[in-house]
Subunit: 657 residues, 2 copies
């Protein structure tokens, strides 16, 4: 258990970083050129923007969409703001200005802003923390405002956010009423607002909401509302998630116990991630040993027992939630794209709290696999759920919800949380790449993305250029360029998937400890070249034996990437393939495939299909097997060609030595 | 394709047979002493009998139960009648008389009888063939009446059945209105009624209903009823099964095509089995080459592509129906107990049509496995669905319907079709054991059940005594005792699971063809002893490679029995066991276990569970396996001890030679 209490590390902001990476730049360009434009069209055509116009009196008709629809606009504002920080785009900037103006104009004189409540249910204002998502939407507004301010320097959206935050702060708190949001999000947003405004009230309010969780306020609200429920109750379905056998069970919204006492990650995975990210933010800014200890315990339980090999979380569509330890079905998994975004948020903050690479390793695993699989290669179509196995005709849960469970991505959803969430994370990728110690001169290279970063050590500017073909090869060259020589320790993360590391400094071999979290070079830097090689080769993973869904199966890994078989690349139904030779999987870069990927090919044993005519069951001794080659592609790249079967966990007939 | 057109074989009725078998007698005694009494209590307490009293005016209140609740009483009457034919029981007989009197008194003057319609919806009489199950209930009444007449010689219930059948015959037919039942059952019942009354009108009506199927009458009825549907529409859920994407899809009730044109078994499995049994009955009595050809085609498709290794049918709870070829999930299977009853009905009739043992083999497989698993060892608790795999906490579909999907049997269900259906089949077991040729003197020994049968060949009485410990051993001794010598061929079925057969006649070795359907001894019989040995040993089955759920797995078979692992007999979670040695499975009879069963033990490879602390995914090369022994019990006997995990299909790491 660490005795860390506040921040150990500070992220170097994306303003100081230029990304030139071939792998990631294609995504960032697609976000800028396609995704944010098409998402604007969605906001315009689904009624999301019209809801703001209706509040202003510029549009007729009733509120449209989900009751938390405002948050889609806010996430879009955030994504556009991050994007414009990197590359200006007058057309996008104009749209951003229009949307921001709508939000500014829609705010009530007292600071209130939620178009659903203002248009449809003004009497419900601040009455229903369980279901109404007012504070959730407020959180996304605050995050958008902070990003907009950061990117543009403008104050107008930040002023809206502050006015709303002030209103909320006036209602809740030690001097106001009890309460905590049914859907977390505002906690981390309030800390962001504190960081940009220095108003400690916002930090205190975030801590208040966190401390109130699990202490009965949501339960009491349900009890008080029992008699109010009527026909117009639009959130009946969601409400049922709070009850188990008719009794209140707050675990859906992490309200089953105070955060400091929670033993395991429970309930709706996105809510859990946003909460724990917010808790980490509060600890980052103002400490909290008990909270931090709880975070470590919750993190370990999630990573050790409730996480897909892709970094995906949430094992069931029912409640979009965590289930039980080691319950990780592949075909009925949920692994929501938004939950991976939340997981990356939380892990990044845990890294800032500790400097431990285990959190960076998980950011990497999630980013390259569970998160990226949610987005098409052209970044305009999305998965809500990310199963690790689908049949050729779609998904085991296709009849539950053919839009969310499918082997074809969608450009939007009725509940459209994921697409703009994916966009805002990708657009802020630069924030995750480099960091520096909060107390020393140490610099951290967190992720392997071709880029240039500028920072200053003891008033000397340092330019660090990273060159790499990651994730296709494990060679990373770091070129340091300084005006005058300057000493600092440079920590380069050694990825957890890597067993063999070598490095040279200006061509001279370095002695490297591959078991260390970091490859650290502490010296007086001049114009130097540090070349690191993380040996990358195809590997076979197995899951804990208690995971029923994965028993006897293996997953293919190459560097940070988890692989899958797709129907289009393989002749037989995918369940036929049983990996049969450990060391014989070959990796090859194919530039023309899926924007360029390394494929893995290898040998498998398959059932012979002859002599089955007219028979459904036969003696084992009357059957035979044949050998054939399989081809695997990175999991993130699946479902970008013709729809078909997909499988991450493959049968194996491997023998242990 | 056979050119069989009508009956080849006649069953020797149970009146000529005395069962003395240790295995089956325990079930038959339990039925008589416990089951039929406890089921009477269910009929009395759930309102089923009160519904008849309400019609008569002897009871108050509204109709109780499902709208086809009458059928439960009728199936109980049938089961009691069969049982009393074997062993008199004054208390049971008294209850039977009371229930029969209620039914007799409840019939309307014009012959109509359906307590739901009479009490709740007299205006719906004969208006709703799709959903109302009037003809389904009528069918069960007729079957009950025929059995009651057969067992008691009484006419009073038969008269009720005839009056109702006459009423139905007056409404439907070439001279009446079009129509066919939404839930088949009356077809086979009308043929039974024809057999006992010689009224060819009933046979013609059965053929009419069969011919009307798939010709648009049910579809038109839905169209005409569209405007009638209202709040009191109790069968909304069932109605939805008739529609696919808003369009009528009659496959749920085998109404997608005329029977003679149907290519595959479709829809609700119980309905399909009752229909095809009824079709076979019509062909048995009056021929029909096209119908017979359709039955052969449908049967082959079912057996080759849509049947569990237990004989269970129906792959999903949704619609309780067949799905697609080779879609045979083990944990979400339905395999309804009633569907196995219907399958046994159909297969027995196919045998009578052809004399082919493939139908007897399937009766055996279904009877000893898929059917018997539906009944507890004491015959008082039942499964509705019969999955082939359940988790330790119940079933994958437990949250869909914890009563029907469970690892604990229930004594009754809201929809209580299965318990009395199981009782009536067991109580009439004697009808399935022996048969004779319809045109020659040949005698058939169909099943291996210790018993004595008396029949007459050319006016000479023959007594055939069968001695066997089947299914625990494959030795069958047939002792023939005749007043004077008489020639006839004796056909003894060679079970399809058996590869090695030997036989002696009066101690002298016979030459036997193990590939033949029958071991046939054609001679002038005197006082003779034919001893047959079907070599019984543990075997491993594999499923067709297209069956995704079973790939890489094996099922254990011993003689006619399919085996399973239960949690209580094995130390590790069942998914850990991978069968590793083909020839080393040992069979041993354990008299004290589960009323006496042969258990199978063998060697399996399991994942080593050490060194997993704090890890969810590891390199394959860092893990290891251990060897351990597994213990399997017959599938039919599962869930008779503490509730827990169960698995039929076991992982395997067997190597082909």
């Amino acid at each position: 258990m660490s005795d860390v209490n506040t921040r150990q590390v500070v992220a170097i902001p994306y303003e100081n970083i230029t990304i030139t990476d071939e792998f990631w730049e294609s995504w960032l360009r697609a976000i800028r050129e396609n995704t944010l434009r098409s998402q604007y069209e969605q906001l315009a055509t689904t009624g999301c923007l019209d809801n703001f116009r209706r509040v202003i009196g510029q549009s007729d008709g009733k509120f449209e969409g989900m009751w938390f629809e405002d948050s889609d606009a806010y996430k879009w504002i955030e994504a556009v703001s991050h994007t414009l920080s990197r590359t200006d785009d007058p057309e996008l900037r104009e749209r951003l200005d229009d949307v921001v103006s709508l939000v500014v104009d829609a705010q009530a004189d007292d600071g209130y802003l939620n178009t659903y409540v203002m248009l449809e249910a003004p009497n419900l204002r601040s009455t229903n923390l369980n279901m109404l998502h007012e504070l959730y939407c407020a959180g996304h507004l605050i995050e958008a405002a902070v990003a907009h301010h950061r990117a543009t320097g403008e104050e107008r959206l930040l002023a809206v956010a502050q006015a709303l935050a002030d209103l909320v702060d006036g209602v809740f708190g030690p001097d106001g009423r009890d309460g905590t949001p049914g859907h977390e999000e505002i906690e981390l947003a309030l800390v962001e607002l504190y960081r940009v405004t220095d108003e400690v009230r916002y930090l205190d309010l975030a801590r208040f909401f966190i401390d109130q969780r699990g202490r009965g306020t949501l339960k009491r609200e349900f009890e008080n509302q029992a008699e109010q429920a009527g026909d117009e109750d639009i959130w009946d379905g969601a409400r049922s998630e709070f009850f188990e056998d008719g009794c209140y069970d707050g675990s859906y919204a992490q309200d089953h116990a105070p955060v400091v006492e929670q033993e395991t990650v429970e309930g709706h995975a996105v809510r859990a991630m946003y909460l724990f990210a917010g808790v980490a933010d509060v600890v980052l800014e103002s400490g909290g040993t008990k909270l931090f200890t709880a975070l470590e315990r919750l993190w370990e339980g999630m990573v050790d027992r409730r996480m897909y090999v892709t970094g995906g979380i949430g094992s069931t569509h029912k409640g979009e939630r965590f289930t039980e330890d080691y319950h990780l079905p592949n075909d009925t998994s949920y692994a929501e794209t938004c939950a991976t975004v939340g997981s990356i948020f939380w892990n990044q903050r845990m890294f800032l709290l500790t400097g431990d690479t285990q959190y960076l390793n998980l950011v990497e695993r999630t980013l390259y696999n569970g998160f990226l699989a949610g987005i098409s290669l052209n970044a305009t179509e999305f998965f809500y759920a990310n199963p690790l196995q689908v049949d050729s005709d779609g998904h085991a849960l296709h009849d539950v919800d053919p839009i969310r469970f499918s082997n074809e991505r969608q450009d939007w959803f009725d509940c459209a949380c994921c697409p703009p969430n994916a966009a805002r994370l990708l657009a802020s990728l630069g924030d995750y790449l480099y960091a520096r110690s909060a107390s020393t001169d140490a610099i951290y290279v967190n992720h392997f993305v071709e880029s240039e970063v500028i920072f200053s050590i003891r008033h000397t500017d340092v330019r660090l250029r990273q060159e790499t073909k990651y994730p296709w090869a494990g060679d990373v060259t770091l070129r340091i360029d300084v005006a005058k020589s300057v000493p600092f320790p440079l920590h380069v993360r050694v990825p957890d998937w890597c067993e063999t590391v070598s490095a040279t400094l200006n061509g001279e071999e370095l002695s490297v400890d591959a078991d260390a979290e970091y490859l650290t070079v502490d010296r007086e830097w001049e114009t130097d070249e540090l070349a690191v090689t993380f040996e990358m080769r195809p590997e076979l993973l197995v899951a804990h034996p208690t995971v029923r869904a994965d028993i006897g199966n293996v997953a293919l890994r190459y560097g940070p990437l988890i692989y899958c078989l797709e129907e289009v690349d393989n002749e037989r139904p995918l369940h036929h393939y049983a990996i049969s030779e450990t060391g014989k999987v070959e990796a090859e870069f194919e530039p023309g495939l899926l924007n360029g990927v390394v494929t893995l090919t290898g040998s498998a044993r398959l059932p012979a299909t002859e002599e089955w005519e007219g028979t459904l069951y036969r003696l084992f001794t009357d059957t035979a097997t044949v050998d054939a080659e399989f081809t695997a592609v990175p999991y993130y790249a699946w479902a970008n060609r013709e729809p078909g079967e997909m499988r991450v966990w493959l049968r194996s007939v491997l023998e242990h030595d």
